[in-house]
């Protein structure tokens, strides 16, 4: 109580003046839409699939990740996205396999707890699809990757917000990122399927 009472009125005004502009929506003219990926509501998925022995597809996903993106409807080429994935959250619906995948043979999550993707450019094809380029850091290795993007849709949601979503797909050999455990000749390449919905923050 005594501590609180020492906060003088002028100090409160100063704090308010410092904080308020950031809290007020539309206080700065937003040209580019800013989105936070809706991981909280789980309307975003980082999934992968890889062939099992060449006989079938094995699917898995990363459950814990977050990210944000910007999108300019007038100039979608200026769009950018950043995603960080906690590698320990890998989930292929089999605890013992996931334990192996988290270990040194694969993701080595103790040493490389986070995988990141940072876009470097986007080229829209003009038909609702496009190509996103960026740097993927996985297993301590950073390499450029290209993601084929489909712009799924955007608009107001039923709860007063504005959302925009995409689907992205890419693939790469695991050994490009230094993961060289032998899963057989048919299981060299992993496919990544990204389903991303963002909630607009600046609207």
């Amino acid at each position: 109580m005594s501590t609180r009472s020492r906060l003088s009125l002028p100090l409160l005004f100063a704090l308010g003046a410092a904080l308020l502009p950031g809290l007020l929506p539309g206080s700065a003219a937003a040209e580019v839409e800013q989105y936070v990926i809706d991981t909280e509501g789980a309307h975003a998925f980082v999934q992968f699939r890889i062939k099992h022995l060449g006989f079938s597809w094995l699917y898995g996903r990363f459950n814990d990740f977050d990210g944000s993106f910007s999108y300019d409807p007038e100039d979608s080429a200026s769009s950018a996205i950043n995603v960080a994935i906690r590698t320990a959250s890998i989930d292929s619906n089999h605890a013992e396999r996931d334990k192996h995948l988290r270990g040194k043979d694969f993701l080595h999550v103790d040493k490389f707890p986070t995988a990141t993707f940072a876009s470097t450019g986007y080229s829209p094809n003009g038909d609702g699809t496009g190509t996103l380029t960026g740097e993927l850091t996985l297993h301590g290795v950073t390499r450029p990757v290209t993601i084929a993007v489909e712009e799924i849709g955007a608009g107001t949601d039923p709860w007063g917000g504005y959302r925009r979503g995409f689907q992205g797909e890419t693939s790469f050999p695991l050994k490009d990122f230094g993961i060289d455990y032998d899963l057989g000749p048919a299981a060299q390449v992993v496919e990544i399927i990204l389903s991303v919905e963002g909630i607009r923050q600046d609207g």
């Binding site: 605890a95 013992e96 334990k99 455990y181 032998d182 899963l183 057989g184």
Partner: protein
């Protein structure tokens, strides 16, 4: 014959003791070996299945051993053993049992982390009970490895102590577990 006597262990206690010794040594070696198998190794799937099934059987054997210990108590310590030796031996034996069950429990928690049962050589299944704890398989895996190392180290100490009593003190401690009464003190 079957029951323990005042001067030596009986046939059943000896059989159970040496069976557990062989199984623990085998499971430890198998466990360390199988985690380094590659995906295309013929043993990649069967070695863990054998390890898990044998672990469950070991658990049953240990329960039987503890039950038999109550029905037919082990021979009392040799009179030549000092009080501290008896206390150390009792503590080591209790710790060995404790570690055995802790290793088996942690192993069980790895394999049942997502609710899957443990298959025991196609004979029966041990259902999952505690599953879905955060990071369960990984944590239980680490605990399983370190407790197993602790168990095998303590078992090694236990064996060295028995050998010391048998061949340095010449008090026949090991003979009692091999079906012969200890030598009378020289």
């Amino acid at each position: 014959m079957l029951r323990n006597r005042a001067d030596r262990y009986g046939l059943l206690a000896m059989t159970l003791h040496w069976l557990v010794a062989v199984l623990v040594a085998s499971l430890f070696s198998l466990g360390l070996w199988m985690v380094n198998l590659t995906y295309y190794d013929a043993w990649y799937r069967s070695a863990p299945a054998i390890h898990k099934g044998t672990g469950v059987l070991l658990c049953l054997i240990l329960i039987a051993r503890l039950a038999w210990r109550r029905l037919s108590p082990p021979p009392p310590p040799l009179a030549s053993h000092a009080a501290w030796e008896r206390q150390a031996a009792t503590a080591a034996h209790r710790l060995l049992y404790g570690l055995l069950f802790a290793v088996m429990l942690s192993g069980y928690l790895i394999s049942t982390a997502d609710g899957r049962p443990i298959e025991v050589f196609g004979l029966f299944r041990v259902p999952a009970t505690l599953s879905g704890l955060p990071n369960q398989a990984d944590l239980a895996g680490r605990v399983h490895l370190w407790l197993a190392i602790g168990l095998v180290s303590l078992a090694g100490l236990h064996a060295l102590a028995a050998l010391k009593h048998q061949f340095i003190d010449r008090d026949g401690t090991l003979s009692r577990m091999l079906g012969r009464p200890p030598r009378p003190p020289a």
